[in-house]
Symmetry: C2
Subunit: 124 residues, 2 copies
C-alpha cells in the first residue's frame, strides 16, 4: 500500500488550509490507482501535523509513504524542518518506507505551469 502525504506550511487563515485539503482530494480523484492512501497535513499552525499525518497513513495500511512538500522554494522549512520531523518519526515505523519528495519549484513541470498560467491571463 502506497501513501502520498501532501505537506503545506499551514496558515492562520482557514481558507488557505482548506485549499490544501481540496488539492489532496483532487489528487485522490486522479491518482487513486497509483496511491492507495492520500492525506494532507501541515508543518505548523494547522492540523494535522506531520507526525499525525504519517501515523494516519500507517494506520490506513501504508508500507511506503511519500511526503510531498507543497512548497515552492528550498528554504529552511524544506531543507531542515520537514526532514527533521520526518526523520524523528521514521524509527516509530521500522516496517514502513518513508521518503520525502523534492519541493515543487524543483520540478521540470513548473516551467510549463508558469507559462500556462501567464498565457491563460493573456487570452482573457
Amino acid at each position: 500500500m502506497k501513501a502520498l502525504l501532501l505537506i503545506a506550511h499551514g496558515s492562520r487563515r482557514k481558507e488557505s488550509n482548506d485549499e490544501v485539503v481540496v488539492i489532496a482530494d483532487r489528487l485522490k480523484s486522479i491518482c487513486s490507482g497509483q496511491y492507495d492512501i492520500i492525506h494532507s497535513g501541515f508543518l505548523e499552525l494547522a492540523e494535522m501535523l506531520i507526525p499525525d499525518g504519517i501515523k494516519k497513513c500507517v494506520d490506513d495500511g501504508a508500507k511506503t509513504i511519500i511526503v510531498l512538500p507543497y512548497f515552492l522554494n528550498s528554504g529552511r522549512h524544506v531543507t531542515e524542518d520537514i526532514p527533521n520531523i520526518v526523520n524523528d518519526t521514521i524509527p516509530n515505523y521500522p516496517d514502513v518506507e518513508i521518503k520525502i519528495a523534492q519541493h515543487l519549484g524543483a520540478s521540470p513541470l513548473m516551467m510549463d505551469l508558469l507559462v500556462a498560467s501567464a498565457n491563460e491571463t493573456i487570452s482573457k
Copy 2:
C-alpha cells in the same frame, strides 16, 4: 511587446531569492518567443520590488505586462497585497496593459506536477 513579471514573496535567505531569478532565467530560455521581456521581482524583503519590476518592463518597451504570482495559496498576499500594489502602479503607465495571473495552486497543471514529483521519489 509582451512582458512576464514573476513575483515571489521574497526571503531574508538569499538562496531562496536566487532560485526565483533562476526560474525567471529558465522561463527566458523556453518562452522568449511568447514573451519579449521576462523579469522577476518580490513582494517584500528582496529587490526588485513590484513597482520597480513593472517600471523595468515598461522601460524595456512592454505594452502588455503579465504579473505572475509565484505563490501556491490564495492568501492575503495574493488576494490583496499584490493587486493593491499593481493597481497603485497602473495609473503611472496609461498606455500599458497590466494584468495579474492566478496563483499557481489554481492551475490545473498543479495536479500533474504533484503526481510527477511523488512518482519521481518512488522510482528512486
